[in-house]
């Protein structure tokens, strides 16, 4: 059965069709949510929320893009909004906790590559980070990224270029590792 037929049946409430659509896309959505969140519970929440919203809004799906792209657009919106909220509130907590325990600072005095790289990626602006994770780590094309994030594919390329440049700058201490 084609995806178009599955969508038509899913709109009518056919659970088997809804499950087939879910099975076809859930792995990619979950992987992306996990890359963004770095936490299984959050990745599950974002994935579930994305499918709930997608099934609820399926009658409004206009087939201007593929179902997968449309679903990813919803998933990215859910994940980025969720992460923004969690980050903002975690930052608030960290600021208070840091004031309470200054001793922890020693731990970041001499970070290894993994930790530095992680912090460098976390420090990217959200748009750059999303493009970098989608393209370099999850293998999305610039066309796909553009459709999902609602930007031109050229903008996606430019953001990836800038993301890499920032990472290179921040990780300059490790230049020997790639220039050797």
């Amino acid at each position: 059965m084609s995806e178009s037929q599955l969508i038509a049946r899913a709109i009518e409430g056919d659970p088997a069709a809804q499950r087939a659509l879910y099975d076809a896309h859930v792995d990619r959505v979950y992987r992306l949510a996990y890359r963004l969140a770095g936490d299984d519970d959050l990745a599950r929440d974002f994935t579930q929320e994305a499918f709930i919203r997608a099934f609820d809004r399926l009658p409004t799906f206009r087939r201007e893009a593929s179902f997968g792209t449309w679903l990813h657009t919803i998933a990215m919106s859910v994940a980025l909004n969720g992460i923004r909220t969690v980050r903002r509130l975690r930052t608030r907590e960290v600021a208070i906790d840091a004031a309470e325990s200054l001793g922890d600072r020693k731990r970041i005095a001499d970070p290894d590559l993994k930790e530095r790289l992680q912090r460098a990626i976390e420090g990217l602006p959200p748009g750059y980070r999303a493009v970098f994770l989608m393209h370099d780590l999850e293998g999305y094309t610039h066309e796909e990224i553009g459709q999902v994030l609602g930007i031109q594919s050229g903008t996606s390329k430019a953001q990836l270029f800038r993301a890499r440049a920032r990472l290179r700058e921040v990780l300059a201490d490790f230049a020997g590792a790639w220039s050797a």
Binding site: V26, Y30, Y34, R35, F51, L89, L117, Q118, L137, R168
Partner: protein, 210 residues
């Protein structure tokens, strides 16, 4: 050349960043999706005459919020397609839509107040499971409200986002978690004065959710 080497090195080393587990929890997520969608449908039939337990209340509140948001969007849609000559009607539609969002927001916050009060009261018992389920339902509704025109009011949005964070912490709270974890959620509630702000945003005389 150096650029290409850096890109290859970066891809190689960054691949471990937030690497997803090999096994996607497909069945668990599908069950959760099915439960959430069924709860919405079932609450339509179960509302009349149902005994108002906290979980049922949350399901009913979710339904009301969903319906309210849907009505609000519908009103907005009707407003934008109305000819300019009918501007008076548009204004009244808009006012009605705004009122709808206000009502569902208060309804939602009233349910949240009941949940947070219960969470404060409860020691670690099997009641935690019901509270977590209740929090999960409210979390979904909170996110819907944040993304709806109800979230356009800056103060309300701030409150809903703080509530979202607290609910997410309750949902993620392990039943066997040490008392400190539970205390951390309590601190999050107190730090943002979430409960106090919720109470002050509910008009006097509005039926309590507890």
């Amino acid at each position: 050349m150096s650029e290409e080497r850096f890109e290859a090195w970066l891809k190689d080393n960054a691949s471990a960043y937030h690497r997803p587990p090999a096994d996607v929890p497909r069945e668990a997520m599908w069950d959760a999706i099915a439960r959430a969608r069924q709860a919405r449908t079932a609450s339509v039939a179960g509302r009349i005459g149902a005994r108002v337990s906290p979980v049922r209340y949350a399901v009913a509140a979710s339904l009301l919020i969903g319906a309210g948001i849907g009505l609000g969007y519908w009103m907005r849609g009707a407003g934008t397609s109305t000819p300019a000559a009918a501007s008076v009607a548009v204004r009244s539609d808009s006012a009605l839509s705004s009122t709808t969002y206000d009502v569902v927001s208060v309804q939602h916050l009233s349910a949240a107040e009941a949940l947070l009060t219960s969470f404060h009261r409860e020691e670690r018992t099997e009641g935690d499971v019901a509270i977590r389920r209740w929090a999960r339902d409210l979390l979904a509704s909170t996110r819907l409200l944040i993304d709806s025109p109800a979230g356009e009011d800056a103060a309300r949005r701030q409150l809903l986002e703080d509530l979202e964070y607290v609910l997410a912490q309750i949902v993620q709270l392990d039943p066997n978690a040490p008392a400190e974890d539970r205390a951390m959620v309590d601190r999050a509630i107190n730090r943002g004065q979430v409960l106090t702000r919720i109470r002050s945003s509910i008009p006097a005389g509005f039926p309590s959710g507890s």
